[in-house]
Symmetry: none
Subunit: 253 residues, 2 copies
């Protein structure tokens, strides 16, 4: 059975232009060319097309696809290589996102506003306006009341826990054998979130969805803002914390 270029395009969910392009670059020549110059495709060409489209969806370049198909080569090895490329790209994006986030914060003047000393209690790292803008008035009032209510002792305890966490994070991040997904890091992440959720009135004490978003937002801030990052051994350490928290929140109910 033979099909015209349009039919094939429709069947495969692509366009005739694409098929002509694949012919041009020698990736997928039609099985037959009529005396009139029309391109005709048979079953095997269709199958080949399916493979091309699949690999393309996986993000491989056409030259690479051509190689793979021509050589009937080890696809899983090629895909594994491709996988690391994708992962690298994702990391790059993550860094870009953090940078944009940071820039937005800077523009909004939150540089000046946020954080004088993170160990002065969480919401006190931000000025009132910012807290209110980001998480609502109630959050600010509630959090402020919480912090005052802690008293000197409670505040000191809070700071102590923060310091311990920072110390443990740095140690974990420095250990070459420890990755963000490791049990050790995941356990730290759990402690970290427990520490955060100790603050009532913040999203961290609300619904799971809010907690997730809140934790992830904070995690990016740790990387983006050097004053926060300093608590975790600099940008690298903070990245480690962010990755670990990112993995951890996925495991939360």
């Amino acid at each position: 059975m033979e099909r015209s270029i349009q039919e094939v395009a429709k069947l495969a969910g692509t366009t005739s232009r694409t098929l002509r392009h694949y012919d041009d670059i020698g990736l997928l020549p039609p099985s037959r060319i009529g005396h009139n110059g029309y391109r005709y495709y048979d079953e095997s060409a269709l199958i080949r097309l399916q493979r091309v489209l699949l690999l393309r969806e996986l993000g491989l370049g056409l030259p690479q696809i051509a190689e793979l198909i021509a050589a009937e080569a080890n696809e899983s090895r090629a895909l594994t290589t491709h996988l690391s490329l994708l992962r690298a790209e994702q990391d790059r994006l993550a860094r870009q996102i953090a940078a944009v986030q940071h820039t937005i914060n800077s523009i909004q003047g939150s540089e000046k506003l946020m954080a004088q000393d993170m160990f002065d209690g969480f919401d006190h790292t931000l000025h009132r306006d910012e807290v209110e803008q980001r998480w609502g008035k109630e959050a600010y009032a509630s959090s402020d009341a919480w912090w005052r209510g802690l008293g000197k002792e409670g505040q000191d305890d809070w700071k102590r826990r923060a310091k311990e966490l920072g110390k443990d994070w740095i140690a974990a991040a420095r250990d070459a054998g420890t990755t963000p997904g490791s049990p050790r890091a995941q356990d730290l992440a759990r402690r970290h979130v427990e520490w955060l959720t100790g603050i009532p009135g913040t999203p961290a004490a609300g619904s799971p969805e809010h907690t997730r978003a809140y934790v992830l937002g904070l995690a990016e801030m740790y990387v983006a803002d050097e004053r926060f990052a300093a608590n975790y051994g600099g940008t690298e350490g903070a990245s480690f914390v962010r990755d670990a928290l990112g993995a951890y929140v996925k495991t939360m109910p």
Copy 2:
């Protein structure tokens, strides 16, 4: 103070070609053009260039940068929009990564593997030829000797541990809140590897690199071979085990 195109390029960490391009598209005309056609830039042009380069690093397109600078517009709003684009792109990548991962698994799954009954002892899950081919003759002989040496009791104990592991894995995988990176799964992975390394003569008892490769290979096999997968609640469960083991081996020394 006026600088030549090269000086400016060096100062800003870019190339003269880029500056000429920016001039061509009207994004950054030089502050003065000599009678000879040379481009000269002053301080304000440099500042403008810094802004362009910053925004470019954040991933914005040149036309958009031009708009922003021309309009002196609300940057943080533009960046917020840009942020969601970046996030969308990251999600797309994440899905692509998952798809590639899945494809790799499928490919490897179609490679008919080994095993008859894992509970008959490890190397006995493989045909002799296959074991020898994959891990060498010594491995087979050593492993066989080990198994015989265990005696009925030891063999039963070995099987019991395998069954317990399987049961716990299935429970963990079924629990919607548990992911491969979670502490619970990572703990199971640790137990799993300890169980495996109980076999002398296999790579699992050798160097860390070999252990890693060996565990990863096995992990893939669990998914690929339905007879193994059955011990972990089917393909899905086995995938969970594989992912958890994959994360775990990264944390090993």
